[in-house]
Amino acid sequence: MGLEPYLFLSATVFCIGLFGVMTRRNTIGILLGIELMMNAVNINLVAFARYTAMAAGFVFTVFTICITVTEAALGLAIVILLFRVRRTVMADHLDLLKG
């Protein structure tokens, strides 16, 4: 099997994640969409690394997974903090920076 099916799969998952980020109104839901997109990127990285037989691609994937986890932990901490201050997690109501 060629590289193409993996790339199509990852593109599909990426676009579904993008759809979630754009349409979800709950901040946690938006974060879930971002996780999906990151996940699609990881599939892409591993597939390319395997089909070019370059181990550096796998090392890179370890880095992206770790950075994504850190980002998710921080993002959720910010959501909890925002919730404490504004009593809502709906993105529409988080207009603190609106002039």
Partner: protein, 163 residues
């Protein structure tokens, strides 16, 4: 032939659960679907001969992130005192943009020359990965450790109890 069937099954699980993540009305169900999607991704990694990455994926993503997200939902729900429902907004526009992007990517992929078969990998990938991380990529690896420490400290600081 087995590879195709496994890939097709994994692709169906992955795309189906990803759709459920972005469309499910109940936020808690969405997180559980995300767990399934992340586990499916670990399966794809296994299919690509990356056993170590599949394990990392299961431990960090499916284990770590799902726990954190469930925790965040429970905390915010308990404080609100009512069920968190979540709705989607501007579904038409979002679907249009996503589909246009998908069409664009597929179009580019169709035109580009891609390897049709995977080269043989005689070496043990986990071993090579460990060696690379501690020799050639040791500086980025240490920086990653510092980044994770800073991130965790920041998360604990943000979520500290009110005084």
């Amino acid at each position: 032939m087995t590879e195709q069937i496994t890939f097709a099954a994994l692709a169906i699980i992955l795309v189906g659960s990803a759709l459920a993540v972005v469309l499910s009305k109940n936020l808690f169900h969405a997180v559980l679907w995300l767990a399934l999607a992340l586990t499916g991704t670990a399966g794809v990694f296994l299919l690509l001969d990356a056993e170590f990455l599949a394990a990392v994926q299961l431990l960090l993503y499916a284990g770590g992130i799902i726990t954190i997200v469930v925790f965040a939902i429970v905390v915010t729900e308990r404080l609100i005192g009512e069920r968190l429902t979540q709705t989607n907004m501007r579904i038409g526009g979002g679907a249009l943009i996503s589909l246009v992007l998908l069409g664009f990517i597929v179009n580019v992929l169709r035109k580009s020359p891609l390897p049709a078969a995977r080269p043989e990998m005689s070496v043990d990938l986990t071993r090579v990965l460990g060696e690379l991380v501690l020799t050639r990529y040791v500086l980025p690896f240490e920086l990653l450790a510092v980044l994770m420490l800073a991130g965790m400290l920041g998360a604990i600081y943000f979520a500290r109890p009110e005084d």
